[in-house]
Amino acid sequence: MIELVRNVRLWFAPQEVRKEGGTPDYRFSLANERTFLAWLRTALALIGGGFAVDQFLPDLRWGWRVGLALALLGAGVLCSLRAVNHWIRCEQAMRRGEDLPVSRFPTVLSIAVAIVAVAMVVVVLVGWEG
């Protein structure tokens, strides 16, 4: 938790990242940046999915519709915040020459998306009539 707070401070302080370690090969930094952007696209897709559930399933019961939309939007927010946090942790690890950080997040996100998908199937089969 303390580390998370420290990382949040780093998000806004570029000079502090440069304080330690050496600059890695620029290609590694660019690869890290592309990974960050890929996660950001995932986040935007989840947010778009939240809008789409709200807009294109008008016959759904209110609770289901709002619940699914909020689940997707929440996943989008988590995904984008995690994207920047993981990017900065990778950047620091590369500067210090350490191993890249491991993460449980991809598993959690996969399970969450699977749950939403199953919920959609149930909604389509059972709860379509509002």
Binding site: F12, E33, R34, A38, L40, F51, L73, V84
Partner: protein, 108 residues
Amino acid sequence: MTEPIRERDPGLQPERTRLAWRRTTLSSTVAAVLAAKTALHGGRSPAGVLACAVCCALWMGFLAIAHRRIRVLAASGPEGPPALTPRHATAATLCTVALAVCAVALVF
């Protein structure tokens, strides 16, 4: 023999990164269009128009961030472009989060 001058990265890393930014702006455009559709769905109420304007502003902000980074990448010399700064990455993330917050407000 003088040392070889690297004119272009054979892995095209800056170009690939530039295209990754482009793809991301495309994703944000799709999200912004869906946001505008949601905001203006129930007629043109003042709240809906305001939400639409906020979403459009966030989209423009994201485009500006991407544009700045793309220009840096395009202007880089043989030593490679400078790394993305945390402030830049955080700004892109905050645009995304703000769009999601708008979405939550619109869904309710």
